[in-house]
């Protein structure tokens, strides 16, 4: 089981949609952390993503870009994510974000938008 702790491995203040929104955006999280981690999973290996701990909260723009962007840009299918991604938290309030992540993933259309980086 691979582990990605957002607050430790990425940033304790994740916020914003694009690179242009700040240093801890959803786009950066997806491109530099989540996508490589998911891409390097061995057969049947799962990725546990810890979303609380150091992190105080998430805005929708971060979650949409960070997670649903994986489907939208055609990196991974919804089924792949459902089978391989486990979202973990110990703070019960973070259930809200887990549900949002899955809702955004479920409503994303596979390969509906070609990715163009906003990195300057």
């Amino acid at each position: 089981m691979a582990i990605l702790n957002v607050g430790v491995d990425f940033d304790k203040d994740p916020s914003g949609r694009y690179y242009t929104d700040g240093p801890a955006s959803g786009e950066r999280f997806r491109e530099e952390f989540l996508k490589p981690k998911l891409g390097s999973l061995s057969r049947d290996e799962k990725l546990e993503i810890i979303i609380d701990g150091e992190v105080e909260g998430y805005g929708s723009s971060f979650l949409v870009e960070g997670f649903a962007g994986l489907v939208k840009h055609g990196y991974f299918s919804k089924d792949f994510l459902r089978n391989r991604m486990i979202i973990k938290f110990s703070d019960p309030d973070f259930e809200f974000y887990r549900d949002k992540i899955w809702m955004y993933i479920d409503s994303a259309r596979f390969r509906s938008e070609k990715y163009a980086s906003t990195k300057r």
């Binding site: 304790k12 909260g57 870009e65």
Partner: protein
């Protein structure tokens, strides 16, 4: 050195003449524009004086704005917004027509009551003015009401002014025991890490953890993202130094009421909608209700549409402004309200006795930018 031919000399002369003509045309155009702005500003002031705006003429051109007795967006919105607007319109810019009225001071002596949100908006406006004149403003607090001095001191108002000698000038009254205010945070920073400072300050003044903080944090994250993406678009030519957001909080012990206030001085949500990817859906929403966006209540309706469209269609669109995230703190706490004031509109979402209520209002006076207020009882 090569000698120029008569043909070359003639060509150079023509080029120089053409450039001079261009510059002078540009100058005439600019001076005409400044004259029009001056006329518009001066006429606005004349009209507003008739409606009660208190302005003192120190010379033919120099004016002082005398703030009213109360500044509060809940009970005295129109007057509060009018005075803040007057400061914005009259505070000096780098280039103005010599006939344009010019603000040289703001008189606080009549001000007796002021809410934290009005204090934050006023502080932001004065800070903007101070930035535009290379930080030359200086507060003279001799005739200020002690309560107002205290309010501003707690808010961190005096830290704005590098030339401030307020601490040495007056003997400060004891701090108000009932109301505590968090020193405001001013930032152009796009990340949201500074909201951690607000959290620790709120813990200090309330003496406890804020339950459901994560949902407030989520709303603040979206508010900050919106400032970066929509509040100061390049087409409006904001100076880099003016692209700020402000944040503060207050706690009243007797009522256990906690307020968190976020403010930006940008173009406002209603103005940012047409350029956003949400516009198509907002427009559709307005059409379904047969609402003409050109009416007087435009800002109120656009504001409502912006929140409602996202609220009712979340999941179908991934390009909103995160406005529903802002409601979540109040919703999870089960009581309190969220107010979004932007330009001439107010959108208020509240929960009382378990019942959700939405109220929208249109005002005569506009508030530049967007002011977001969360209130809850601890």
């Amino acid at each position: 050195m090569k000698k120029l031919s008569s043909k070359q000399i003639l060509r150079d002369k023509r080029r120089v003449l053409l450039e001079r003509r261009k510059t002078s045309k540009e100058r005439i155009r600019q001076s005409k524009e400044l004259k029009e702005i001056a006329l518009e500003v001066n006429n606005w002031v004349k009209r507003r004086i008739k409606e009660g705006l208190n302005i003192k003429f120190l010379t033919k051109r120099d004016v002082a704005i005398c703030l009213p007795e109360r500044m509060n967006f809940s009970s005295d919105y129109e007057s509060t917004a009018l005075y803040i607007q007057a400061i914005r319109r009259l505070a000096s810019r780098s280039k103005v027509n010599r006939k344009q009225l010019k603000l040289v001071s703001v008189d606080f002596s009549k001000l007796k009551k002021m809410s934290t949100s009005a204090g934050l908006a006023l502080t932001a406006e004065l800070s903007k003015w101070d930035d535009s004149i290379s930080k030359r403003l200086k507060p003279v607090t001799d005739n200020w009401d002690p309560e107002i001095v205290n309010r501003f001191r707690e808010l961190g108002f005096f830290d704005l002014f590098s030339s401030s000698d307020e601490e040495n000038q007056i003997s400060l009254p004891p701090q108000e025991a009932d109301l505590s205010i968090v020193k405001y945070i001013k930032s152009r920073c796009k990340g949201s890490s500074q909201t951690r400072l607000l959290r620790s300050e709120l813990q200090r003044i309330t003496g406890k953890e804020i339950d459901k903080w994560t949902f407030l944090r989520s709303g603040l994250n979206e508010a900050i993202t919106n400032v970066g993406q929509h509040a100061y678009p390049p087409t409006y030519k904001f100076r880099e130094v003016d692209k700020n957001w402000y944040l503060t909080g207050s706690y009243r012990r007797s009522t256990r009421v906690l307020k968190i206030i976020f403010y930006d001085q940008g173009i406002g949500i209603p103005n940012s909608l047409p350029a956003s990817e949400l516009w198509e859906k907002v427009y559709q929403f307005m059409s379904e209700l047969s609402v003409d966006v050109g009416l007087r209540k435009r800002d109120e309706r656009l504001l409502k549409a912006a929140v409602e469209v996202e609220r009712t269609r979340t999941g179908k669109s991934d390009r909103g402004k995160g406005l529903p995230d802002m409601l979540e703190f109040v919703r999870k706490r089960g009581e309190g309200y969220l107010s979004i004031l932007s330009l001439r509109g107010l959108y208020k979402f509240s929960i009382e006795n378990g019942k959700e209520k939405v109220k929208t209002v249109s005002f005569d006076n506009r508030l530049y930018g967007t002011l977001i207020i969360w209130q809850t009882t601890l």
